[in-house]
Symmetry: C2
Subunit: 126 residues, 2 copies
Amino acid sequence: MVTKQFDGPPDEADLRRADSLAREIFSDVADKWALLIIEALGEGTLRFSELRDEIEGISHKMLTQNLRMLERNGLVERTVHPVVPPRVEYTLTRPGQALRVTIDGLCDWTHRLLGHIDASRRRFDA
Amino acid sequence: MVTKQFDGPPDEADLRRADSLAREIFSDVADKWALLIIEALGEGTLRFSELRDEIEGISHKMLTQNLRMLERNGLVERTVHPVVPPRVEYTLTRPGQALRVTIDGLCDWTHRLLGHIDASRRRFDA
DNA sequence: CCGAATCCACAACGATACTG
DNA sequence: CAGTATCGTTGTGGATTCGG
């Protein structure tokens, strides 16, 4: 369950690895489509096509790619129902749900400051 | 200060504008470099070159572009000291600080789940 | 020191077509 | 319905240079 059994002296190489890993994860997650997918799945379980409809403007390809990425990181779970036509459902894992909470904060922030930011933009563009 | 003085009946066109604006802001902010800049500025005021050093791997160009964007959205303030050589300092505005709080959550999440995600990746790649 | 502009290599993205 | 592969276009981002 844990990476190391004993806390040895802080190894510099370990710290660098952890840092670059954090950076990688951050890059994966700090992405427009990824965040929108997580947010959409907050509601519960959705099929591929439902996600596609839910997220305005996302292409088939982007949706697939991001879902694979999120699955790889263990943030969404993919369950295939062996029926014809195929039925594939996506749902947030526990880590995914934890992430969603922080994204909710981001969404709240966006809506709270919408007017403020809009005004600032107009000022700047003049 | 407020966009509308009275809450009239919800105008569909208004809602669409607000939505697309929210999407725009979201796209601006849900970006790797933008988030890292906000996070770096959390500490206080930094010069351009300090930011450049602080944020590993960011190019001169990306830093400039993102700072302009953040300034335009009113999230960072840019103050130019009229000296030679030029001294330009960046600091978070109040909305920027509010955003930083939610980003802190994202960073915490990343570090909390680092091991978990790493394990999930290894499993997936096999 | 800071920023804008140019160039260009390369990755991202959309569209399309094909498979199970 | 869901996923993969290919292709062509667009655009992003790094390196460099010049200007204030």
